[in-house]
Every structure is written in structure tokens, then in C-alpha cells.
């Protein structure tokens, strides 16, 4: 039964670029229908880890299982129906309209030309992401935060079971950050599994269900006896001047 509660599992996963090892023998499971945040210092390999889960990088060792299926055996369309991925940055070369960018999320369902059902799905996705007012605008002329929301709508149009989001809140102002994170909570309540890399541990602690920390090529959890927001635990992850203040039964982290 243990395995079924996990949407993603990794077994002895190792990955490195040329001479530097980034992830070393990682074992972990991500719980289904939960909002899991991945935290850790800069350069700890969070984005690399996400790209491996998304299938954009191939691990040198180890296996990944997604909803019970061996990830290395999935075809491109099969994978796109299971997992959606938001890259940390995206640069467009052509001034596509927002609705045309969102529609490309349907590619896994489309043979050559999108049908009405695909257009309906992308309109629904834009409504959910709250960007209907941008649909006829040019993607290249939007602000960084607006572009981010367009790419999120694109994943929603894709309609996968698992969302992998690499720093979804960057470029967003504080109100839009909370709007997005509440949307993620809603999606989890509807049955999706979401894994997101976060830069800001406080936003993670306010909205998250589960927390993984990447440090020294390993994934670390706070364990049974401690919470992820306990200052003693966090000090083992982030070195530096930090103190915690209580908030809604959890704690937030403040530099001093």
C-alpha cells in the first residue's frame, strides 16, 4: 500500500554533469494529491532534479516511477499526459498570441491540427489561471509575471496528473504569488499532485503539505521528531543568520 500513496518514487538516483556529481544515490517518494515543495540553497541541484523528473535530463543511475509506471519507458505523448513541467525561464522568439501559446499545451492530444475540444480546453485553462484578459495579447510583450501565468495556463491545458513547477512564483508580485499558490492548493484538492521548487521557504511553509530539502547531493527530510519549519532543522540546511517567528501553528523564517 505504501507504494500506491506515492505519485513519484525515485530509487538510487544519481546524476552528474561531466565531472561534477549533482545528485548522489537519491531515494525518495512524493505523495499523491499533495502539494510538495522542494527547498534548498542556491546551486543545490533543485532545477536539475526537476528536469530529471520531467524527463528532460536522463539520470546516469537509478529509476523513477510515475504513477506506477517506469518513467524511462514512457513515450513523449504518454509522458505528457502524466506530467506537466514549468521551466524556470522561457524565451519566445516570435510574438505568438497568448491563446496560441496556451494551445500548444494540447500537443500530446493533437495529431496535426487542434480541434474545437482543444480550443475549449485551453480557454478553460486560461480561465482557471485568471488570464482570459490577456488571451489576445502578444506573449513577447507581456511582463515576466504575466508570461509565467501564461506558461502555467499552458500546463493546465495539457491536463496532466502531476505538475512539476520550477520556481512558479518568481516574477510574481506578492498578491499574485498568493493567488497562484491558492490555485495550486485548489488543484491539489481536485486530485492533482504538485511538486514545486521554491526560493522562499516562508511561502512554502504557509501553503505546502510536504517539504523536501536538497543539500550536498542528497534529499533531506526533517524526520519524525521535527517539523520542516523548526529552526534547529533549518539551520542544518541554510547556514547564516536566521530566526523563526510563529505563524498559524507553523513558523516563518526571518533573516537578521
Amino acid at each position: 500500500m505504501e507504494q500506491l500513496s506515492h505519485a513519484i518514487t525515485a530509487k538510487s538516483l544519481s546524476f552528474g554533469y561531466k565531472n561534477t556529481l549533482v545528485l548522489d544515490q537519491i531515494n525518495m517518494g512524493i505523495e499523491a494529491q499533495k502539494l510538495t515543495f522542494i527547498l534548498g540553497p542556491n546551486g543545490s541541484g533543485k532545477s536539475t532534479f526537476m528536469k530529471i523528473l520531467a524527463g528532460l535530463l536522463t539520470p546516469q543511475k537509478g529509476t523513477i516511477t510515475m504513477l506506477g509506471k517506469d518513467a524511462s519507458k514512457l513515450t513523449y505523448p504518454e509522458r505528457s499526459k502524466l506530467v506537466g513541467f514549468l521551466n524556470q525561464q522561457h524565451k519566445a522568439m516570435f510574438p505568438f498570441l497568448v491563446e496560441d501559446v496556451v494551445l500548444t499545451g494540447r500537443a500530446g492530444f493533437i495529431n496535426f491540427i487542434p480541434k474545437e475540444t482543444d480550443k475549449a480546453a485551453s480557454i478553460q485553462a486560461m480561465e482557471k489561471a485568471g488570464i482570459m484578459h490577456l488571451r489576445h495579447r502578444k506573449y513577447t510583450e507581456l511582463s515576466g509575471g504575466e508570461q509565467q501565468m501564461v506558461m502555467i495556463a499552458r500546463i493546465l491545458a495539457q491536463n496532466p496528473k502531476i505538475l512539476l513547477l520550477d520556481e512558479p512564483t518568481t516574477h510574481l508580485d506578492i498578491v499574485n504569488q498568493s493567488r497562484l499558490l491558492n490555485l495550486l492548493k485548489l488543484l491539489v484538492a481536485e486530485g492533482l499532485t504538485i511538486v514545486a521548487v521554491m526560493h522562499d521557504p516562508n511561502l512554502a511553509f504557509i501553503f505546502g503539505d510536504d517539504f523536501l530539502f536538497l543539500k550536498d547531493k542528497k534529499i533531506i527530510r526533517s524526520g519524525e521528531t521535527m517539523n520542516a519549519w523548526d529552526i534547529e532543522f533549518l539551520k542544518t540546511i541554510y547556514h547564516g543568520k536566521l530566526q523563526s517567528i510563529p505563524h498559524n501553528g507553523r513558523s516563518l523564517l526571518v533573516p537578521y
Partner: protein, 328 residues
């Protein structure tokens, strides 16, 4: 709404322009008044006028249209898959490669012109791409630079072929590399129509996929598209279209760069609409240029001269407008 009117006008005006082109040419027999005389009064040298219209002008018009449309669509597709608005078959060295292949075939006749042009066109694109690739990344500028090098190599090889050709073949090769449609005939049209249509058909089918691929490899892969496979199919089709155009009409420089940009200005970057419009607009526009080139002076100015003179300042304008970088 205004956009749709312009697009509709382009589609609607294409047929009258094709028909009107039948009246244009240096022939002193088949002047417009002579043709009208023949049609309405049934007077004049029927045989000669008919021959000029249907054996000289009509195949040329159709060939010009096909070549123009094909260069435009292939340029548009190449720009999308390389995510680079500053390329086309000419800049990638494809045209020079195809020209070398065609010249080789003209001089030594070891392979049919179309096939030889296609093989060397594909080879040239492959060379440009792999020379520009660094850390799995192909930047806008390095692709243009490697295209220049590859183009230079094949132009040099073309000169070697010319050097070893006898004077009669040499003259035809030189004339043809400048980009010329004056010796168009039904046979040429026949030889080009199949490969051209095959390339265009594939690109037409893949027109929406171009949108997905234009967003980048990672963005295509995560929504279920295999970018390597799709790009290879599209590049092969684009090369087939462009190299067949070169094989029948010579090098028509920068045409595949200009037209997709003009079309994008009219209708936006969505390739579902821009691919068909590129075909019609690219065809009609080349026809208009060709009409000028065969009526401006007593002798014919090669059409490639016109497109280069038009395209070069346009390229500079685009380079200034698009802020391009070495890493993007």
C-alpha cells in the same frame, strides 16, 4: 478585422495577377492589344500569339509562382524550427549547396538535377547546423556565421565545377546561378512540380507543429512532441522545397527571408495561417518581381539580382530591430 481584409485581398488578387502576367513580356507580337484583338475580334497571328502565351509565358508564370511560394514556406519553416528570424535557405547555405549539386549534375550528369541539388542542399544545412552547435545550443548569430562559411565553401566548389566545364555548359551554369526564370518551359515545370509539392505538402501538414517547435525543444518535449524527429522531417521537407526551387530557377537570394517576415507583419506568427499565406503571397510577389524583370529593359535582369537588392537592406533592418544575441 483589418487584418482579415488584407489577407482576403491577397488571396482574391492572386488569380487576376497571375492572369495579368500573361500579357506582360518582351515579345513584339504578343502585345496586350494583339492579344485582345485575338480574343475579341479573332484577328492576328493566332499561332504565334498562342505559342507565346501557352508555351513561353504560362509555364514561366506557374514555375515562378511555385518557386516563390516554395522558397517562402521553406524559409518560414526554417525560421520556426531554428527559432531564428534571421535565417532562410539562402543564409543557411542551403541554396549554395543545392546550386553546387545542380551544377555538378549539369556538368557531369551523374545524377538527376533535382536529386543532386537536394542531396547537397541537405548536406549544406547539416554542416551549418553542426558547425553552429555548441553545448547543445545553436545561437542566432553563430548559425548565420556558419551559414556564411558553408555558403562560401559551396560557392567555391561551384567555381571549380565552372572552371572545368566547357564554355557552352559554363554559360548556362553562370546564367542559371544568378537566379533566372527566362528559360522556363513545361519540361522544367514538370521536373520540379513533384518534389516541390511533396515538400510543401509535408510543411502544410506540420504547420501547427511549427508553433509548438518554435517555443523551444524543452517546451515541445514536455507537451508530448519529439523535437528531434519533427525537426528532421520538417528540415528535410523544407530542403526538398528550396533545393528543387534552386534546381529550376537558380539562387534567388534572401527571398525566403523577406516573405515570411512580411507575412508575419500582416497576419502574425501563427503558422496555421501563415504557411498557406506564405505560399500565395510568396508566389504572387515573385511573379510581380519577375514581371518587372522582364519588362523594365530590353534584356532580362536576373530575378536573383532583384531579390538580393531588396533583401539585403531588409536583413539589416531586421538585424537592427531584433535584438539578437550570441547565446539566444
Amino acid at each position: 478585422m483589418k487584418k482579415r481584409v488584407i489577407v482576403l485581398l491577397i488571396y482574391l488578387l492572386s488569380l487576376p495577377i497571375v492572369l495579368a502576367s500573361l500579357f506582360i513580356g518582351p515579345s513584339e507580337t504578343a502585345t496586350p492589344s494583339a492579344i485582345f484583338n485575338l480574343i475579341f475580334n479573332n484577328e492576328g497571328n493566332t499561332y504565334l500569339i498562342k505559342s507565346v502565351l501557352f508555351d513561353v509565358r504560362l509555364p514561366r508564370i506557374l514555375l515562378t509562382f511555385l518557386v516563390g511560394g516554395s522558397l517562402a514556406i521553406s524559409g518560414c519553416s526554417i525560421q520556426a524550427i531554428f527559432r531564428n528570424p534571421l535565417t532562410d535557405s539562402y543564409i543557411l547555405g542551403l541554396s549554395s549547396g543545392a546550386a553546387f549539386g545542380a551544377a555538378l549534375s549539369l556538368a557531369y550528369a551523374f545524377l538527376p538535377v533535382q536529386i543532386s541539388a537536394f542531396i547537397f542542399g541537405l548536406l549544406a544545412v547539416g554542416l551549418s547546423y553542426f558547425m553552429a552547435r555548441k553545448n547543445k545550443n545553436v545561437s542566432t548569430v553563430s548559425l548565420i556565421l556558419s551559414g556564411i562559411i558553408v555558403s562560401g565553401i559551396f560557392t567555391a566548389l561551384l567555381t571549380v565545377v565552372q572552371f572545368f566545364s566547357d564554355p557552352f555548359k559554363l554559360q548556362s551554369i553562370v546564367h542559371w546561378t544568378m537566379g533566372n526564370l527566362h528559360n522556363a518551359n513545361w519540361e522544367k515545370l514538370q521536373s520540379a512540380v513533384l518534389p516541390l509539392s511533396a515538400g510543401l505538402l509535408v510543411l502544410f501538414i506540420y504547420r501547427w507543429r511549427l508553433n509548438v517547435l518554435a517555443l523551444g525543444d524543452d517546451e515541445a518535449r514536455t507537451v508530448g512532441i519529439n523535437p528531434k524527429k519533427d525537426k528532421l522531417i520538417i528540415l528535410t521537407a523544407a530542403t526538398l522545397g528550396a533545393s528543387s526551387a534552386v534546381a529550376v530557377a537558380g539562387i534567388i537570394g534572401l527571398y525566403g527571408l523577406i516573405i515570411p517576415h512580411m507575412v508575419r507583419m500582416i497576419i502574425g506568427p501563427d503558422n496555421r495561417q501563415s504557411i498557406p499565406l506564405n505560399f500565395v503571397f510568396g508566389g504572387v510577389f515573385l511573379l510581380i518581381i519577375d514581371n518587372f524583370s522582364r519588362s523594365l529593359s530590353g534584356f532580362e535582369i536576373p530575378i536573383g539580382v532583384f531579390t538580393m537588392l531588396l533583401g539585403a537592406p531588409f536583413f539589416i533592418f531586421l538585424m537592427k530591430k531584433t535584438s539578437i544575441g550570441w547565446n539566444s
